[in-house]
């Protein structure tokens, strides 16, 4: 019954979404409110049906209902309880359900929040969002149905991909998809703005918080993905410029550009066309990302080629790009900027430069990712560009962005006076240069790291300086230190939330620079009792043992790790053999530290336990990435607090 029930719900939901999209577009043109209400009910219906589909699939997973093909492929009787729930998004079909459900949820929130506000925009927003939902439901109906029946019903399933049996995989897709789908809302408002011709700042003001939230979840998803890659895949790194990673970072780059450039429009009535272009690009890139992951057109460690789904996504991508950019071209006359750049030394131009850098980075990543296709189409050979290309182009761009991060928030609008520049930047620049000089004296020779340190200290300096000045100003009006600080954070939450996010990025930047410059690694074969030394650690091989786990066979090594100061620890890296996998899965063991991680991977071994090959790494400052993520979370939380400035 389950497959048929789920499939029926999907088809009905598709019909409702399609109807809602068309009805509210008609309402947008004719102003018939009855139609708007009707499509609102359709939106609620879609949400209920998709929620039902999801619960039904979860139920099928929990009860081992192998008559559902998706359940049979992604779970087996040995799969632990919580992974049977998260197996829901362990493969393509379920991920699409999760995506559709989030989209339906966002649509519901939009209905609840904006039903009585922005009556001109609202029908068009609803139409765009339900149109997009209809596309995803179509995918669930034809190329990737999660409720396909499997006959005969097998006694046991294949089992979830062991690499996905990890806490990182529980949260990473959820965060990433919240980010991807989150950009639908600003995009829908932009389309509404274009359709109605009300291309002022309204759509930007309404969607600012949505953009921040989507941006944050995307950043979080990327960081969790890095964490997963680092502690599960066992190659010792967190980012490899793999096409699928690139696909996720692309909308993040354009989304970051958008977050900044909308501020110029709010303040100076400039960059209207640009902002609309950015929001269209960002949304299109989220679709492009899914297309790239699922079409299998580019080889990747992640890619799973899946029949016709690629064609669906490509068709949708074409539809989105052509429709929205045609709307933009149609409205071009109304999009004249009212302000213009007065000086190079102004906040506008710094923000503009920030946008140029971010979009250049996005373009580079895009170009590098599709380069194999381009080269095959033009020259007939498949050539991939790897990390060296991406690093070469992106490192200077990101360093530039770091410096702009310090300049942008403090430089004056319109035209900065020499006095403004001196007042805000003399001290931080001096401190930044001094920090680099001190670091050099302490023996840090890597010029990239030195540049990074200088930039980070400079930016931190500007933030601290600005904050202290503001606190002092409030102190003059009679507040105590604590009251002044808290009051400032609360009243200017958007500004200081942004600063905290910047600090988070700085922490991540230091982590990236440090881990690339200073990490050590070695590979060696040890006999029992022998040890190897690396970075002040001594690792001794004590033996192997084998065990039968609930859904796999496991060989575990015991290694004693000691450092010079006499602390001792035992690490247990292992290899897991799953019936459904050809190759054993490495289970990394590690000790995380603020300064360095000890990271141990078990390679080949002698069956009698007398010898083992290990990969040992001392990874420096990788933890700063995860810390940066925490800071990012705090900053975002602060930035999206409800505005109190007007109320107070």
């Amino acid at each position: 019954m389950t497959p048929e029930l789920g499939y029926a719900a999907t088809v009905v939901a598709f019909g409702l979404a399609l109807y809602g999209s068309i009805a509210s577009a008609v309402a947008g043109r004719t102003g018939r409110t009855a139609l708007v209400q009707s499509s609102e009910r359709a939106a609620v219906g879609v949400w209920i049906l998709v929620t039902g589909c999801m619960l039904l699939l979860v139920y099928a997973f929990l009860t081992f209902d192998f008559s559902v093909r998706y359940v049979a492929i992604n779970t087996n009787r040995g799969t632990p309880f919580y992974y049977r729930i998260t197996a829901l998004w362990g493969a393509l079909e379920g991920s699409i359900i999760l995506w559709t459900w989030m989209l339906a949820l966002y649509t519901l929130i939009v209905v609840v929040q904006y039903r009585r506000r922005h009556p001109e925009f609202y029908p068009w927003v609803l139409s765009a969002m339900m149109g997009i939902a209809a596309f995803f439901l179509l995918v669930m109906t034809i190329p990737a149905p999660p409720f396909e029946r499997l006959t005969p019903v097998p006694p046991d399933g294949r089992g979830l991909n062991p690499l996905l049996q990890d806490s990182g995989m529980i949260t990473h897709p959820v965060a990433l998809y919240l980010g991807f789908t989150g950009f639908t809302v600003p995009f829908a408002f932009a389309i509404a703005a274009l359709a109605t011709g009300r291309i002022g700042d309204e759509w930007i003001t309404i969607t600012r918080r949505w953009t921040v939230i989507a941006w944050y979840f995307l950043a979080l998803g990327l960081l969790i993905g890095g964490w997963w890659s680092y502690h599960v895949l066992g190659w010792g790194g967190y980012w490899a410029w793999d096409p699928v990673e690139n696909a996720a970072v692309l909308p993040w780059l354009t989304g970051t550009a958008l977050l900044h450039s909308v501020m110029i429009q709010e303040r100076r009535r400039m960059l209207k066309i640009w902002n609309l272009t950015l929001v269209i690009l960002t949304f299109s890139l989220t679709i492009f990302g899914t297309f790239l992951t699922r079409s299998g057109i580019i080889g990747s460690v992640h890619a799973f080629s899946q029949g016709s789904i690629g064609a669906f996504f490509l068709g949708f991508l074409a539809l989105v790009l052509l429709t929205s950019f045609s709307l933009l071209a149609w409205r071009m006359d109304r999009l004249k900027a009212q302000g213009e750049l007065d000086s190079i030394f102004s906040r506008e131009s710094v923000f503009l430069l920030n946008n140029v850098f971010l979009v250049a980075a996005a373009f580079t990543v895009f170009f590098g990712t599709i380069f194999p296709l381009l080269s095959e189409a033009v020259r007939g050979v498949k050539v991939s560009v790897g990390a060296p290309f991406f690093n070469l182009v992106n490192i200077p761009l990101f360093l530039g962005l770091l410096i702009l991060m310090g300049v942008g928030p403090l430089i004056a609008w319109r035209r900065a006076s020499a006095d403004n520049l001196r007042r805000n930047f003399l001290m931080p620049t001096a401190v930044g240069v001094a920090a680099a000089v001190i670091a050099r004296a302490l023996g840090i020779a890597n010029s990239l790291v030195l540049l990074c340190i200088a930039a980070v200290v400079f930016v931190t300096g500007t933030i601290v300086l600005d904050f202290l000045r503001a606190v002092r100003a409030r102190r003059r009006s009679g507040d105590g230190w604590a009251a002044a600080t808290l009051g400032l954070l609360r009243r200017q939450n958007r500004r200081y939330g942004g600063f905290v996010v910047h600090l988070g990025i700085l922490v991540v930047a230091l982590g990236v620079a440090g881990s690339n410059a200073w990490s050590l690694h070695t590979e060696t074969t040890l006999g029992r009792g022998e040890s190897v030394e690396l970075g002040g650690y001594r690792v001794r091989f004590d033996g192997l043992r084998a065990s039968e786990e609930s859904n796999h066979f496991k060989v575990t090594g015991t290694f004693t790790v000691s450092n010079g100061v006499g602390s001792r620890d035992v690490l247990y890296p292992a290899k897991k053999y799953y019936a459904q996998e050809q190759n054993p899965i490495a289970y990394v063991d590690y000790r995380l530290g603020l300064i360095e991680d000890v990271y141990l991977v078990l390679g080949d071994f002698a069956r009698d336990g007398s010898q083992a090959t290990i990969k040992l790494q001392v990874n420096r400052m990788v933890s700063w990435l995860w810390l940066g993520g925490l800071v990012l979370t705090l900053g975002t939380g602060l930035a999206i607090l409800p505005d109190r400035k007007k109320a107070a």
């Binding site: 492929i73 297309f291 950019f325």
Partner: protein, 179 residues
């Protein structure tokens, strides 16, 4: 407004078209065509005990065209899709100096036997309990099928479910060669 700007604005949506065309071109390429260095090399020898009892070895099949199929009972759907294809191929070619051998890897005996019974396989199938044969052949995932010529050289490798067309095209090609 001058004519050029009125039409120039349509450059933005038009710019999207080449990108889409390039992405569409990607469908023509086949990421599944994983090259194997083993093609053209002599196939590694093996000696395995079949599920039915008798031993089978590559050495004993010299002079015939040999098709080796690596499979597992948990390999759904590809192994299930190709199972009838293999049996059909076997029945069509078994009297023409062709041998088909199924090698069951990373599996348990019970479900593997059920799989064989379900599809009524009549060609020899053997488990590879130590995984040695699959390592020798560089098997990356199941199913994979190797086509070996009369001289014992690997001539083609197919990743994923074989179809009737793929099976007969490869076998016919190798049969046509005189030893």
């Amino acid at each position: 407004m001058s004519g050029s700007t009125r039409w120039g604005r349509w450059a933005i949506p038009l710019a999207a078209i080449p990108v889409i065309v390039l992405l569409a071109y990607g469908f023509r390429t086949d990421p599944r065509a994983i090259p194997t260095p083993l093609v053209g090399k002599p196939a590694a020898a093996f000696r395995l005990k079949t599920f039915d009892g008798p031993e089978i070895s590559l050495e004993g099949l010299r002079g015939r065209v040999v098709v080796i199929n690596f499979w597992a009972s948990w390999c759904y759907p590809a192994c299930y899709e190709e199972a009838p294809v293999l049996e059909r191929g076997w029945r069509a070619y078994k009297d023409r100096e062709v041998m088909l051998v199924g090698i069951n890897i990373q599996d348990k005996e019970e479900p593997a036997k059920r799989f064989l019974a379900q599809f009524g396989h009549t060609f020899p199938n053997a488990p590879d309990p130590a995984g040695r044969v699959s390592v020798d052949y560089g098997v990356y995932g199941v199913p994979e099928t190797f086509f070996i010529d009369r001289a014992g050289r690997i001539r083609a490798k197919h990743v994923g479910a074989v179809t009737d067309a793929i099976f007969s095209a490869n076998v016919d090609r190798l049969l046509a060669e005189r030893p």
